[in-house]
Symmetry: C2
Subunit: 252 residues, 2 copies
């Protein structure tokens, strides 16, 4: 399992991924899930992956070394060629399909799921950042303002805080805090999600460079945020009036 989150806000794109990978609870490792696919003059593209590690590494390998074009194996396309993020998502979808047909089929023969999904975010040319969710069949959807975030992997524990707070107008700093709280919830409830976390922030404004950072297992800001949140939740719960029927119960 793993947990990856992408948010597409007016102010910019945020992507975060944990690094835990496991084959059972007795075989746990740390692998980077957030990858820079391109950081050129005209394009800046990142991918976060969840699912079978051998499948997602195959997808990344294909994108790096070339996705075959039809039946002519000498014609290869890389992530440096698409002229839009939509075309880039199509190329990643093709790589996912190829990985599923090869690695996925082999894994299916021993009854292991090779399914994997990818968050693809970035910008090509002068357009604003965009964000895509590529499913294990290679089909994909684009993030739109109605729900300005995508999750893959262990999505449920970290979802309620997102549903209640994230809108397109949320600032990057606010969204980053909420993203950390979403990860903190997932980490507390599922051993298969863990720090370090890798993140990338790509502001929408022209000329702003993307910013990457790794949040380590003993990051003091994250530890402080987690501790404060517990206290703040207690205070918030206390601020809500008691259910009216509890008075009736005490009266018995």
């Amino acid at each position: 399992m793993t947990y990856c989150l992408g948010m597409l806000l007016d102010a910019g794109l945020i992507m975060i991924a944990d690094t835990r990978t496991n084959a059972g609870v007795d075989d746990i490792s740390s692998y980077r899930k957030l990858h820079c696919l391109a950081d050129d003059k005209d394009r800046c593209i990142y991918a976060a992956s969840a699912g079978n590690l051998s499948t997602t590494q195959t997808v990344l390998g294909l994108l790096r070394e070339g996705v075959p074009t039809g039946e002519d194996e000498s014609l290869m396309r890389t992530i440096h060629e698409p002229t839009s993020m939509f075309r880039a998502a199509q190329l990643v979808g093709e790589a996912v399909q190829i990985a599923n047909e090869t690695v996925g089929r082999a894994l299916a023969s021993i009854k292991i799921s090779g399914a994997s999904s990818i968050l693809l975010g970035g910008r090509i040319g002068k357009g604003p950042p965009s964000l895509y969710l590529i499913y294990s069949a290679g089909n994909f959807i684009e993030c739109k303002p109605d729900v300005p975030f995508f999750q893959i992997g262990e999505t449920k524990y970290g979802r309620p805080i997102l549903d209640r707070t994230i809108t397109p107008s949320t600032s990057l700093a606010e969204a980053m805090k909420v993203a950390f709280l979403s990860f903190d919830s997932s980490i507390r409830s599922n051993l298969a999600v863990a720090r370090p976390l890798d993140l990338i922030v790509m502001p929408t404004r022209a000329g702003a460079k993307p910013f990457t950072r790794r949040i380590g297992v003993d990051d003091p800001y994250f530890d402080d945020l987690s501790a404060r949140w517990g206290d703040l939740l207690h205070d918030a719960t206390a601020a809500i009036p008691d259910p009216p029927f509890m008075a009736e119960l005490n009266g018995h």
Copy 2:
């Protein structure tokens, strides 16, 4: 899907269940999932069920009309006979096994899962309330103070708030608010969980009567709690300092 929560606190037992049942998103109904199995002078026992409705209704029918004893079909045991909650959990476990062997096997032949699980809570005699989680195989575990709650059904969305706030010393009123917030999160994120909610509160103190209540689809207290929580989460997020690296980003 459905969501049921049981909390075993120093002050008493709380059980809550939603009422949604569905076969696909285009076949949705409302069924009571929290049932009073016994309300006698010497025992007060409640069950909340999640999973296939035909299986759980069979379990409840067996407990009401009699669970067969071995091969002699004239010997039937009901929930009114066990002399402890442990023995009651064993009887419910047997009923679950029988339902799985009959209804469950028939459903398996058409590739539908008949799996169901049960929260069993209550008290027999003068002992304090206790709480059991009975799995679909009929085996069960008892709630203990290390984690003073059990969830069945759609458990993940509503879990983080429980992990962060519920301890054995939490008051009944506080626990009830947290339980409602846990349900509110689940209802917002999953169409397969919905009001009305049924609840029972059984105080530990001697002589206190259990209290039952249905929270309707337009319950004003629940609506107010849900609205306040959104605002309180915004305030709490704002009260956490911004990540230090965001200043660095703005400096670019």
